[in-house]
Symmetry: C2
Subunit: 255 residues, 2 copies
């Protein structure tokens, strides 16, 4: 996913997406910013469709996604696939993989991407030397857990329309938070097949559902560009509450 000019954020956040992410939660001290910047220093490109983490292998550290997009995937024996979540710039890659003898899931780049490698020892040192950052990272993981939970509600208890609507809105909100979406539109990093694998739907049904949303004038889709035409209505349909993606109080807890 190339970054479109109209979707670009301030350069600083793009250069160090993890720093930008955490700075949105707590005011950071200069030395904390420096420590985070050095964590994101060692960079490596990953080509589209390549695995960043391969299920079954052992890892002694984690990655931070700097640029691009990726998905965490589990493939069952008979070929059924489940997309567990979508990884965007500033997200960690490799939790919980690094704690297991064998990584449980693969992480695949959806586009040409850039990651930075963080050995576990560095991360542990960061927690030791900058406990506030450790707590803030913890908070940011909690947000990830909340996304899993919301995803579970999607797949467990919502209709296809509601699932797709919720998915589109979650992506909008997350991309906005990192400056990769404007008020109502963004580039969809997943194909319909992957959307289906994320939401537990078949490709034809994802397609039909998207068409319905288009016919109801709730969204418009042209190629990869998604425009949410009626955010209120779509949010009502999906029972979407963006609080699980914001409204943190880690700053208050650390004060």
């Amino acid at each position: 996913m190339a970054i479109e000019p109209e979707h670009a954020a301030e350069p600083a956040a793009l250069a160090y997406p993890l720093t930008g992410r955490l700075a949105g939660l707590v005011p950071l001290l200069p030395e904390e910013i420096a420590a985070l910047a050095s964590l994101q220093a060692a960079r490596r490109p990953v080509a589209r469709n390549r695995e960043i983490i391969r299920a079954g292998r052992t890892y002694d550290g984690v990655f931070v996604l700097i640029e691009g997009a990726a998905i965490r995937v589990r493939v069952l024996r008979d070929g059924r696939r489940q997309v567990l979540n979508v990884v965007l710039p500033g997200d960690f890659i490799g939790f919980p993989a690094c704690f297991f003898e064998a990584a449980l899931y693969s992480i695949t780049a959806l586009s040409d991407a850039i990651v930075s490698w963080i050995p576990f020892a560095s991360l542990f040192a960061l927690f030791h030397q900058h406990p506030r950052l450790g707590a803030t990272l913890f908070c940011s993981f909690s947000c990830e857990a909340a996304m899993y939970a919301e995803h579970l509600i999607d797949v467990g208890r919502r209709s296809a329309r509601e699932r797709v609507a919720h998915f589109l809105l979650e992506l909008l909100t997350r991309l906005q938070a990192i400056g990769l979406a404007d008020e109502r539109s963004y580039r969809m990093p997943l194909t319909q097949e992957l959307i289906g694998d994320a939401l537990g739907l078949s490709v034809p049904h994802v397609n039909r559902t998207l068409r319905q949303l288009r016919e109801d004038d709730l969204v418009s889709i042209d190629g990869q560009i998604v425009v949410i035409k009626d955010i209120e209505a779509l949010a009502a349909l999906a029972d979407f509450e963006k609080i699980y993606l914001s409204r943190f109080r880690i700053g208050e807890l650390l004060a």
Copy 2:
């Protein structure tokens, strides 16, 4: 859920389930054990069906479940319910709730239970004074994230039979790890209605599916007592790999 004599573990693990949990991951130092014990000191009973965490409220700390069982639940506006996970002794209650202005989900006790309260400040201090414990807690959260992921696969891509089979095996494995299940049997803490809400199935279908598994001689169910009669076959059916509940290498990483 009363603890049956034949299901009881060593007293120490039952008295301080969190300590037992972490000691299973890393050898603990005496001062670390003491720190954990003091965390689990302030106890409070919770009656069956009472909420331990109420969605919408604000919390300045977390709980550890000492005894009993609980579920994390989200109720949609129209009454549909999703059970997000099952909380067993030694598990934290209140992540990620304490990081949000308003708790996202309710936690309800399934049986008379005992919890211990940990103010966020104490937890933060623990991370600061015992970084190894912090890392180990982190590892234990990663296991929780893996359970969410596996739950997502259940609901997204597995048939009713596979879901129920997987659910039964996960519960067996988790209860064994804390000494509340023997080789092949345990007390089911959930009603069929709640199993349905966990797996995205209707009550009648949960019932029929359980009957099928019984007819195929894979399990036997008498009241709340579940006996897995053929673990191999059930695991094959469910594509169940218990590695996501064990096989941690945090000890190695901290060495």
